[in-house]
Amino acid sequence: MRLSSAFERVQGIVFVLPALIVLALFLIYPAYYTIRLAFYEGDFHYNFVHYVGLDNFKQLLTNDPDFLDLSKFPPGGALINNLRWVIFYISLSLLIGLGLAVLAVRVRYERVVKTVIFLPMAIAATAVGIIWLFVYSPDPDIGVLNAVLVGFDNSFHPIAWLGRPDLVNYALIFAYVWASVGFVMVVLSAAIKGIPAEVMEAARVDGAGEWNIFRRIMLPMLSLPISVVTIWLFINVIKVFDIIYVMTGGGPGTSSRVIAFTMYEETFHNGRPGYGAAVAVIMLILIAPVMVLNVRRFRSEKVVA
């Protein structure tokens, strides 16, 4: 089967070589560079200036309240904010997405619902940001959210959702959930349709209620797609940047910063590339387990048969 002449061997490499060169030069080498830079102070030209060892990391984790502040309650800083994102963004997206997927298969207009919910996936985070700046506007003639609340209760004082440090993160998270739920729904509803009809039928014949069918049949059979979606949401959340840049610029103050935002801010505004590189390395460390997982899963499935 395999024509393993020398020429044949070379040919395969010719096909993959352009891609490998691009990846090595623009993805792998930069990652190495950034990891190394994290141990330096760095200068305006991003050179390796002034080796500081682990100082950048120490500073980030123990002496930078904008990144991690455990001295107050609730704790603050970009890392904690990102943890809020992990918890609330992932659970809300999963809950709403799964709920919609399960409910929508039961109606004829499923396609319409799916399209409507999925639509924000096509919208740039920049536009999502502007859309939700409008929704959250403290002016009840602009912001529909405050308008609705004022409509319910005339004495209600419009809330500046993005102006309050205690609310801003949740307001941002919800806007991003809005943009992501469509993905969760589409993946899970495809998975639901893959569940063999006989299984559900059999359960119904045996008199199982809808809730039991959902809990004991659907949910276990959906565990793999749910974990895939969760991983996707997790990667999203570690990388989240655009929407925060547009909507709050990390503010008010520094109260809505996340990891990716800190990396941008420290590197490109505060002129601390070494410090910013350390933040990027922390991102890489957070995402590394997912890389390992992907590779493992793929290896067990396909490549090495």
Binding site: F26, P30, L37, L119, F134, V187, V246, M291, N294
Partner: protein, 296 residues
């Protein structure tokens, strides 16, 4: 489809059964329709605002606009010409098209190698690419900026951002396309080899024509990714005259923060192309996204 229906719906036959069914299902319809409307409201609000006159925007919410029925296109005129968004829209196209074609081409070539032409360390190299799929952009920004600067100011042209997007799109392209290519019938490719077709001929004449759905899925995915990207454009396109819409709109926000008519019109311009692609090629778009996640 028939099996799907029977899986999730119990057919109602008699009239009374249908009545019961309708009543018990009312909450279901209510929840679905309410959430769908809720999901539409923010986008509709922006779209309507973009066609309203500034005094109307300032004095009443967009939800009043349907009864007022007083629309204008002036916002678009202003945003396209006066604020330079028309120019930025063209920049977005200039950035997006090569940044889609390059990874598609390089990715398809590599995917073919990984799928059908054996070479040493093939599996190991492929696993590395699988791992690279989710490397955060942040680990590349600074070194790439430095690299591009040392190569003669690629940041002042589009080469830098094209290359950066190519590098970031490639792992997914290779992964998606390789997984599709290996499902092509082996007999077909072996037969072509027997007939003396070169690998490149097999790639061009057999693999590519049979893989249009997969190629389209990736192309649409990458197109939207690049079009919607803010961070990379922010870093790699420093010349304001060359920046895409995603970068110019936040500037508009900081200079004309209260000019809702302009902001709405600009955002809507940014959304038009992706939404058109989405509606025209929804199937490929969804497939691309699904393939990118479910099959990892």
């Amino acid at each position: 489809m028939a099996t799907v229906d029977s899986a999730v719906q119990v057919r109602a036959t008699t009239r009374s059964e249908r009545m019961v069914r309708f009543v018990t299902r009312t909450p279901l319809h209510f929840v679905l329709i309410a959430i769908s409307l809720l999901w539409l409201v923010p986008t509709v609000g922006l779209a309507l605002t973009s066609f309203r006159k500034p005094p109307a925007i300032a004095s009443s919410g967009w939800w009043h606009s349907i009864s007022q029925w007083d629309w204008t296109l002036k916002n678009y005129d202003a945003v396209i010409n006066a604020t330079g968004m028309g120019h930025a829209w063209v920049n977005s196209v200039i950035i997006t098209v090569p940044a889609t074609i390059l990874p598609l081409t390089l990715g398809a070539l590599a995917a073919f190698g990984f799928a059908w032409v054996p070479f040493p360390f093939r599996d190991t190299l492929f696993l590395i690419i699988v791992a690279l799929m989710i490397v955060p952009i942040q680990t590349s920004l600074v070194p790439l900026l430095k690299l591009f600067a040392s190569w003669g100011h690629l940041n002042n042209s589009y080469y830098g951002i094209w290359l950066a997007h190519t590098a970031f799109g490639l792992p997914l392209a290779v992964f998606l396309l390789r997984n599709f290519f290996i499902t092509l019938p082996k007999d077909l490719i072996e037969a072509a080899r027997m007939d003396g077709a070169s690998n490149f001929a097999i790639f061009r004449r057999i693999v590519i024509p049979l893989s249009v759905p997969a190629l389209a899925s990736f192309a649409i995915f990458q197109f939207l990714w690049v079009w919607n990207d803010l961070l990379m454009a922010l870093i790699f396109v420093s010349d304001p005259a060359k920046q895409p819409m995603t970068v110019r709109i936040p500037y508009l926000l900081s200079t004309y923060g209260q000019e809702y008519n302009l902001l709405a019109a600009a955002s809507f311009l940014l959304m038009i192309l992706p939404l058109a692609v989405f509606f025209a090629l929804q199937r490929y778009f969804v497939q691309g996204l699904l393939a990118g996640s479910v099959k990892t």
